[in-house]
């Protein structure tokens, strides 16, 4: 057995898992609070990547220093993704809060499609080269070939984001309000929580995290297009379901499990069929353990 090859696959899986995790968190947060599969989530991430590319190009064109441009571009991506997430919720989901289950789901597909065609029309349908925002660090040079600086930044950023998110959810007032709202919306309102605002904030936070993922993956892969959010979004959703939708640690665990196993599958079996593999996992999970690895089973109310 070739261990360095295996090691490479595992490290690749880690990177993959990190990206999935940044996206899966948004799915799981939204699902936890309004029980909706937010199909547009992947596209929010795509909008984030486009914003970052546009912002960095403009800034560099006007002679802003490289580092400042990168940071500003990242900030722009986060702000814009959040703004889009907020707007999508207000327009496509909020009016349907009391509708049947099918209606918001169809509306979500509409929102996803809308964002994709919006970017397609106003920007381009081609792949755009995305600059490597993260330079190769000097101190990391010996390991560069095994695990690039970009990958290192992706992994560290993911861990930092997860820690920050945990702190937000566990200890801040708004985090507690989010948890309370997801457990019992009526009771949360009786405690004086503005439920609509909490839902909006959930979308904003989830979208901001997605934007970070979008910028990182774009600079890792080196190109973006309007369609990039679709498959990535679906995969992240698979990861969220795998971990147990609604559970944040579950989303992270599911993402790494999916990332690693997909990486191994790609390395040892076939790279053409990696998406087939992910969907097969999804179907298997739904059949054998629909509540996921860390999810809670729910009782149907009569």
């Amino acid at each position: 057995m070739d261990f360095s090859y295996l090691g490479q696959l595992l490290l690749g899986g880690l990177t993959r898992g990190s990206i999935y995790a940044l996206l899966a968190l948004g799915y799981t947060m939204v699902y936890g609070i309004i029980e909706l599969i937010n199909f547009a989530h992947g596209d929010i991430y795509m909008v984030g990547a486009f914003t970052a590319l546009i912002a960095s190009t403009v800034l560099l064109n006007y002679g802003v220093p490289h580092l400042a441009a990168i940071i500003l571009a990242g900030v722009a991506a986060v702000i814009y993704s959040s703004a889009y997430g907020y707007t999508v919720e207000k327009i496509a989901y909020k009016p349907l809060r009391n509708a049947s289950r099918l209606a918001p789901l169809i509306s979500a597909i509409g929102a996803s499609l809308f964002l994709e065609s919006y970017v397609l029309l106003l920007q381009t349908s081609d792949f755009l080269p995305f600059p490597a925002l993260i330079p190769n660090f000097k101190f990391w040079a010996p390991y560069e070939s095994l695990f690039s600086s970009t990958e290192l930044v992706i992994l560290i950023t993911t861990i930092v984001v997860m820690i920050l998110l945990t702190v937000l959810i566990k200890f801040t007032k708004i985090g507690k309000a989010m948890r309370a709202t997801s457990q019992d919306r009526v009771m949360a309102a009786l405690m004086g929580i503005n439920v609509d605002r909490v839902i909006s904030i959930t979308f904003i936070v989830g979208s901001a995290i997605a934007a970070i993922g979008g910028v990182l993956i774009a600079s890792h892969i080196g190109q973006i297009n309007f369609y990039m959010g679709f498959i990535a979004g679906i995969k992240a959703f698979v990861a969220a379901v795998l971990g147990g939708i609604g559970s944040m640690p579950g989303a992270v665990l599911g993402s790494f499990v999916l990332g690693l196993s997909e990486s191994l599958f790609t390395g040892y079996v076939s790279s053409d069929y990696q998406d087939v593999f992910a969907f097969t996992i999804l179907v298997a999970i739904l059949i054998f353990r629909p509540s996921g690895l860390l999810g809670r089973s729910e009782n149907q109310k009569v």
Binding site: K176, V186, L190, M191, G192, I193, N194, V195
Partner: protein, 235 residues
């Protein structure tokens, strides 16, 4: 303090309230009693803004509140312990209590109230890091009442605090309700099926049947009123 004027509300497509009027003075304990399905819980949910009032008016300190969203009503100082307690099942006891203080910014006051409720219900202090959903029914009821006290309410709405609890615990809870009312002079509006208990602690009571209020009198008078028994047992 609170005035309901000819209030009508629908629960789904059922008309649950068919025009009820009542009044609560500051510092009182008022009981609303009646058999199941009479519309008692709907009355509370309408006051809290969860169920919209279709007709009529709700005045709190002479200001209409029936058009406000639930969080704004809570912010005015109307706190509800709903039927079935509705503890946040995956939050710990302390976090549940924290949620009660969600709208408050006076740290020292919150701390003081926290000490107060833990003194009222020492069992909660023992369970402080346990998830709310793992508590027994009686403990959940205590937690629910404590959580509402943590909002430092001007008006406390209690919906069936005796529901599903053993008599001894019910007694304990009612004694604490009375005690809290005396000590803090908080107005309490109590909805109960258990008429004997509710009327013993109440200054005045209303009897509700089928979406309308049929009898109103002082607690003592209602306790001996034979018509109350009829309203329950359909004799």
């Amino acid at each position: 303090m609170l005035k309901l004027k000819d209030l009508q509300a629908f629960y789904g497509n059922i008309q649950a309230l068919k025009g009820i009027s009542l009044e609560i003075q500051e510092g009182e304990i008022i009981s609303l009693i009646g058999a199941n399905g009479a519309g008692k819980s709907t009355t509370l949910m309408t006051i809290s803004g969860i169920v919209p009032a279709r007709e009529g008016e709700i005045l709190f300190k002479d200001k209409p509140i029936n058009k406000l969203p639930p969080d704004k009503i809570a912010a005015l100082g109307i706190s509800q312990v709903p039927e079935g307690r509705r503890i946040f099942p995956y939050l710990t006891v302390m976090e549940n209590l924290d949620m009660g203080a969600f709208l408050r910014n006076d740290k020292s006051g919150v701390k003081q109230d926290l000490e107060y409720v833990l003194e009222l219900f020492p069992i909660l202090a023992e369970r402080r890091n346990q998830a709310g959903g793992t508590l027994s029914g009686g403990e959940q009821q205590m937690l629910a009442i404590s959580r509402a006290i943590m909002t430092r309410p001007k008006l406390l709405l209690l919906d069936e605090p005796s529901l599903g609890l053993a008599p001894i615990i019910t007694k304990q809870i009612f004694e604490i309700i009375k005690k809290f009312n005396k000590e803090s002079n908080t107005t309490i509006f109590l909805v109960e099926q258990n008429a004997n208990l509710a009327l013993q602690v109440a200054d005045r009571g209303y009897v509700m049947e089928n979406g309308v209020i049929t009898i109103s009198d002082t607690g003592e008078n209602l306790l001996v009123n034979e018509d109350v028994k009829k309203a329950y047992l359909g004799i």
